[in-house]
């Protein structure tokens, strides 16, 4: 099957790339290290990002979004993540895991009520799927929801919720039907303001420290009937489709981290002199840099292809799993090599590479571990 592949970004995409790069280097890069040290939520940066239109990039203009396609989205996410993976994590969850399910499965009323505020920064979104007993096996989740008149009553505990502390709009998955697995699950839009929902334990993590990760506890949480997304029992499908979009954002995050690792390692290697020459002249170092550059380009091509398919309205589950798998493993490998190239200085917080190393790891885990990505790819490859 032959397809025309356009290897040049359009003028708009280039301008978006340039603008987000400028934003990232002005507003995010100077603060990234400090945010990592303090684990403080980057409120001002998120406000500025929202003002530019970065919080609801793919939300149609009629709902206050920037009306962009997936290509523009992945380009922007890479630029943001290059500066700070933590800041980008907050932004990508708001876009892919909160705005997108509401856009695709929300009633007109839900869309009108939630999307404008999510797009312009008045609200922040989070995604409540994972539970202590349901991680990779997400569809075995145990949170429940039953209808009591005009109100859904939700009970359960969700963990590892990105932006769990600061978010005010949560996409929550709970079991509404007796069917086991995916078919018994439904998806809801739950506001932190609703009675019966609270933030529980806040995790202290290895990386992406300025992005909060928290437990969300639902105790007879009362959710208006109209806040159901789609139909009862559609939750499994909504979760999986939403994760596909989320994986685009994470793959782009990984590409951003890999690029940061490459750029910093390159700059260091050119400046550091040992044995009478820049270490960039030693073949061992050159090979690391060459491999980092190659794997980064390969990651990007996989990401762009998945984004392209999504924009065409075509299935892209296999392709985005490939992109996320490859890009995240590239990020981890590249960050590790970047630390190595820096030698002792790579181990020290004065240089950014140790942060890239800590940040990169999560990309191999969340929104589907690399093991799950391989299962997804295999399912499409072995039994298409």
């Amino acid at each position: 099957m032959t397809e025309t592949v356009e290897f040049q970004l359009s003028e708009e995409h280039r301008l978006i790339q340039g603008t987000v790069r400028e934003f990232a280097s002005r507003e995010i890069l100077p603060r990234a290290a400090a945010l990592d040290r303090s684990s403080e939520f980057p409120a001002e940066i998120i406000r500025s990002a929202a003002a530019l239109g970065l919080m609801g990039m793919m939300v149609p203009e009629e709902y206050g979004g920037a009306g962009q396609d997936s290509m523009a989205y992945v380009i922007a996410q890479e630029e943001l993540a290059r500066a700070s993976a933590g800041v980008q994590a907050i932004i990508t969850v708001n876009n892919s895991l909160t705005c997108e399910p509401i856009l695709r499965w929300g009633s007109d009323d839900l869309k009108r009520r939630y999307l404008p505020a999510l797009a312009d920064g008045r609200s922040l979104g989070c995604y409540c799927l994972t539970e202590p007993g349901a991680g990779s096996d997400a569809m075995s989740l145990a949170a429940t929801a039953h209808l009591d008149g005009d109100v859904w009553i939700l009970n359960g505990t969700k963990i590892f919720v990105t932006s769990g502390v600061e978010a005010d709009v949560c996409i929550v998955y709970a079991r509404t039907g007796p069917e086991p697995g995916a078919r018994g699950i439904s998806a809801f839009v739950v506001e932190k303001a609703f009675p019966g929902i609270r933030v529980g334990k806040v995790e202290h993590k290895l990386g992406i420290l300025c992005s909060s990760t928290a437990e969300i506890v639902l105790e007879d949480c009362r959710v208006p009937r109209g806040n159901l997304l789609g139909e009862p029992g559609q939750g499994g499908r909504i979760a999986l489709a939403t994760l596909d979009g989320g994986r685009l954002g994470i793959a782009a995050q990984a590409a951003g981290i890999a690029r940061a690792a490459l750029e910093d390692a390159l700059a260091y290697a050119k400046g550091r002199r040992q044995f009478g020459r820049a270490i960039a002249e030693f073949e061992a170092v050159q090979w690391y840099l060459a491999d980092m550059a190659t794997r980064l380009e390969a990651s990007r091509l996989l990401i762009y292809r998945a984004a392209y398919l999504r924009d065409q309205g075509r299935p892209y589950t296999k392709e985005v799993a490939m992109a996320k798998l490859f890009a995240s493993e590239t990020a981890m490998w590249a960050a590790h090599k970047a630390v190595q190239i820096h030698g002792g200085y790579g181990y020290v917080k004065e240089y950014n590479v140790e942060r890239y190393f800590r940040d990169a790891k999560i990309t191999e885990i969340y929104e589907g571990t690399s093991e799950i990505q391989r299962l997804v790819i295999a399912r499409h490859t072995v039994r298409p």
């Binding site: 003028e11 708009e12 280039r14 301008l15 978006i16 340039g18 603008t19 400028e22 934003f23 002005r26 003002a51 530019l52 239109g53 970065l54 990039m57 203009e61 920037a66 009306g67 962009q68 523009a72 922007a76």
Partner: protein, 266 residues
């Protein structure tokens, strides 16, 4: 109502590129541009920001960006300016543009402005990020018979004149200038160029861009100026001199003050 504002833009090789990317062509006696990333000249962006702020406040009825450049080269700069909020663009398509000096540019800009029917307020950068000649604003003002104030950080417009803050060696002067006026802008915390919103980047494609071939401006007096010749463009050779000041600390301190004064550093 508001004033009609035109902002003159020039594209230069990105000044943020690493030093080793800077190269000079000894034959043309110009900076090598091919293959280098181009950006809008730094202070021109501040000028555009000033214009857009006037528009935001309702003091400007419209903002037009004007550039003399090869049309293909100008596309990105024009698109960015429109995305930031300019209403329309005029591109004088001139393949010679990157090699032209300020004298010649001013003449072409003047001719373009006349063809556009003039403007109430013309904003330029105080100096370009590459040649730093600082001549375009005053020469342009001469060409279109407008008042001129240079090194301005802030502009207010109303009632047929502009009130501007001019940065001078001895402080900030408040100057009033009758319209039409050409004002050259320097950077200030109040005129940091805005980033375009993502939505506006898409909208920019729909805004009008008029491309005028340079010959359509006719024979422009002053263009291809005879009076200015570039003899040499070179990267300065780095020399360090070390002057040791003798004596007791108090004497050294005195001597240091004398030297610094003589060098006009303090």
């Amino acid at each position: 109502m508001g004033v009609n504002v035109v902002v003159c833009l020039k594209q230069v090789v990105d000044p943020e590129l690493p030093a080793q990317e800077f190269a000079v062509d000894p034959h043309s006696r110009r900076q090598v541009r091919t293959g280098k990333a181009l950006v809008i000249s730094t202070y021109d962006e501040n000028a555009l920001e000033v214009a857009l702020q006037l528009k935001d406040k309702g003091a400007a009825s419209g903002v037009t960006v004007l550039t003399v450049a090869p049309a293909a080269e100008a596309k990105d700069a024009v698109r960015l300016a429109l995305a930031m909020g300019a209403d329309r663009a005029v591109v004088v398509d001139d393949p010679r543009a990157p090699a032209l000096l300020g004298v010649e540019k001013a003449a072409l800009l003047g001719a373009a402005l006349r063809r556009m029917g003039g403007a109430d307020l013309v904003l330029t950068g105080c100096e370009s990020a590459d040649w730093v000649e600082r001549v375009v604003a005053p020469l342009l003002a001469e060409a279109i018979r407008a008042s001129c104030v240079t090194f301005v950080s802030r502009v207010e417009a109303g009632g047929g004149f502009v009130t501007v803050k001019r940065l001078a060696d001895d402080g900030v002067h408040t100057v009033e200038a009758r319209l039409p006026a050409v004002i050259s802008i320097t950077s200030d915390e109040s005129n940091r160029p805005r980033l375009p919103k993502i939505r506006d980047i898409m909208q920019a494609g729909k805004k009008p861009v008029e491309t005028v071939p340079a010959p359509a401006l006719g024979d422009v007096p002053g263009a291809m100026a005879d009076g200015v010749e570039v003899r040499e463009v070179a990267i300065p050779a780095r020399t360090t001199t070390c002057e040791v000041l003798e004596g007791e600390p108090a004497e050294q301190a005195d001597a240091l003050i004398q030297r610094l004064r003589a060098l006009k550093v303090v």
